[in-house]
Amino acid sequence: MIEARELNKAFGEHHVLKNISCIFEQGKANLIIGESGSGKTVLMKCLVGLYEVDSGKVFYDNRNFSEMDFEQRKTLRQEIGMLFQGGALFDYMNVEENVMFPLDMFTTRTKEDKLDRANFVLKRVNLENVNRLMPSELSGGMRKRVAIARAISMNPKYLFCDEPNSGLDPQTSGVIDKLIKEITDEYGITTIVNTHDMNSVLSIGDTVAFIYNGELWWRGNKDTILQTDDKELNNFVFGTELTSRLKQ
């Protein structure tokens, strides 16, 4: 479980996060939704410590992340996996080396052990025979899957996914969503997904937090989101041609 308590973050005069308190439950896909620029990515980066919050606290299973020093955070981060928007695969490493990187850095396993683990997680994300390919030789969907494989290679307790569907076609997006959900259920991970894709919300949203203008505006799940009468949320949910026609 991850808990955000009264988080505030500003960049100069621009107050991006306003007093956000939220609990992200273990073994569930916790979705953060909102328009572009609403503060979703900043919230995620504050949760993982890439941005320091101006005030507020973050707890990982009751461990106060905000008060940890560099070494303590380093240890905790080995329990975190993160999928970035563009995958963030290391350009100078092939697929196998990318997936094995955390194992090389933080374990004393033998090369064979690491290779077995890399092949296992690559198989888990439905990728085989791509070990020698460089990131530049992969499609967008494959890059995301390799990034997921790298993120889960150390058996993380917490998985963060920042816009996992950006730049992907609807079908591939569905595959990535399904994969995230399966991995969350299978390993009982606390998963937090940033998205503005309503397909993702409706297919994997165990819990949904709607961020509007830097505030936590609404909380619910994939079932309750379609029944709310909140104006701002409805504007977001039914903002596209497709969803508004479906509503009608």
Binding site: R73, T75, R77, I80, M105
Partner: protein, 246 residues
């Protein structure tokens, strides 16, 4: 005020850079790769420029000797002194600031804007140490080798020019090379080179590491790294010359 902020940020980054590597074996692997990328791949350009510059220095010296009282061996002596004292350590370091500095800044800058550095941080890796430290050590080890090569090529280029154009005989040139040779001049040149290598790798690493934005900002960081490294080299050239030669 911006200069002081930059210096402060640079020093904070250096504190992160100069810490114990997470895994020694990975550090060695990365350092050897950097020696290949930053040093070995620069051998061609260093040798080419040095040979031609040595030839030009020798020709200009020979051209300016019009008094019969000045021995022709002076051409070899002047070429050696110019190449060892100034041309190889300073000019080649400035060329390396352009070639290697832009490579370091753009490589690290691209990793920053594509979130690869964030990915390292999330995993618990000290990204500044992992990315910059091997480059600093590799540069400080390989640049002196390049500079010694440059000295040889410069002196050889001068000899070839003198012999091929018939301006000075081979014996006179070689005699001049041997006149009043002091090993300390080579020590001075190597010391300067090591300091310049440190400047090139850390300044370029700094500008690359703090890049934010996109491709445009990576280009700007790369340009700034080369400009600031070059200015620092010129500045420290004066300081080190004053300290070591007077």
């Amino acid at each position: 005020m911006k200069v002081f902020t930059d210096i402060g940020e640079y020093l904070i980054l250096m504190r992160k850079v100069f810490s114990k590597p997470q895994k020694r074996i990975i550090f060695w692997e990365r350092m050897l790769n950097e020696i290949q990328g930053l040093g070995i791949e620069s051998i061609g350009i260093v040798a080419f420029i040095s040979a031609f510059m040595g030839a030009v220095v020798a020709i200009q010296t020979a051209y300016n000797i019009d008094s019969p009282w000045i021995p022709l061996s002076m051409v070899g002596f002047t070429t050696r002194q110019s190449v060892v004292l100034e041309f190889s350590p300073t000019v080649i370091s400035l060329i390396l600031a352009g070639k290697v500095g832009s490579r370091i800044a753009s490589e690290i800058g691209t990793m920053r804007v594509t979130e690869q550095i964030d990915a390292l941080e999330i995993m618990g890796v000290n990204s500044a140490n992992y990315l910059i430290f091997p480059k600093v050590v590799a540069s400080m080890l390989i640049n002196p080798v390049l500079i010694v090569l440059s000295m040889w090529m410069g002196i050889l280029g001068g000899w070839m020019a003198m012999v091929s154009f018939g301006l000075v005989s081979s014996n006179d040139y070689v005699d001049g090379l041997r006149v009043d040779f002091e090993g300390y001049t080579v020590f001075y040149a190597i010391t300067k080179t090591i300091v310049f290598a440190y400047i090139i790798s850390t300044v370029s690493g700094f500008y690359g590491y703090r890049t934010s934005g996109g491709a445009l900002e990576v280009g700007q960081a790369s340009t700034k790294a080369v400009v600031v490294s070059s200015i620092m080299i010129i500045l420290f050239n004066l300081i080190l010359t004053q300290l070591l030669l007077t």
